[in-house]
Symmetry: C2
Subunit: 174 residues, 2 copies
Amino acid sequence: MTEPFLQECLAVLSRTPVVLDSLLRDLPETLTAASEGPGTWSPSEVVRHLIYGEKTDWMPRMELIQEHGTSRPFEPYDHEGQFREGGGKSLAALLDEFRELRQNGVARLRAMNLTSEQLDSKGMHPALGLVTARQLLATWTAHDLNHLMQISRVMAKRYKPEVGPWVAYMSVMK
Amino acid sequence: MTEPFLQECLAVLSRTPVVLDSLLRDLPETLTAASEGPGTWSPSEVVRHLIYGEKTDWMPRMELIQEHGTSRPFEPYDHEGQFREGGGKSLAALLDEFRELRQNGVARLRAMNLTSEQLDSKGMHPALGLVTARQLLATWTAHDLNHLMQISRVMAKRYKPEVGPWVAYMSVMK
């Protein structure tokens, strides 16, 4: 019997690659390479960021908490790390890579079969201090949804020059 | 040869039912019935709103423009209309209904095979005045993405009580 909060988070985490695939694969670059201006991310760059998080952030930190508790602080997370890794992959290749990494991460998380007690176990964040495994899991899940929100917003804004008078009804475009 | 802007919009419009299905079907109600407070919509209610729009707004207006131009103004859109129709359907049934309506609408739009000239044809909005078919199409597409953004935001906020100190990094939760 999977702990209910863990089950809920797993439901979201395991869907994200399918959601992003159905939203983005084979879309025109007018959408997938759109951004909100200099220094902001396109949908493709968000997928690169999610890939980087799978490799360096979420499950590595969960494993650190379960194995070492607070005795080993997390590695600081590099919020621009995805841009320091070799770029040049197509969006299709990025979506494939994210799906594989996420499937692997979700499988590792399921295999841990964390109890309610284990979800309350603590780790040490280099900037935020004491955090729990449950908070890490909630943050991972909300982070997915936050970036789905960002991708939808960036793509919606691409239509700002095209909607004419309807811009008055679209608060996202203001 | 489909007009490029029409093709781009069709790519988004035809995906939305699949995206919503992969995001929402069989998720726990802690997420699908979550809202941002009284008077705001849950993900389920957003799907009801999208269903209502398929029936009364988007393709009916496009057909009115192509058949009658500016001589017949659009019916005013009822932004709460979905709540005046029989409720009580499960989210699974709503997702099925939306998919069928959207497939039908997209098929009708494809069959029109609008030229660039037809996309510039005008209709009469009851509040906004003159609008073009192209603006209607852009607004329909941005409206999908706007509501996907809303659903993602509502679900992300559900984790606010759970993320602990990470709330400092999540602007969506402020």
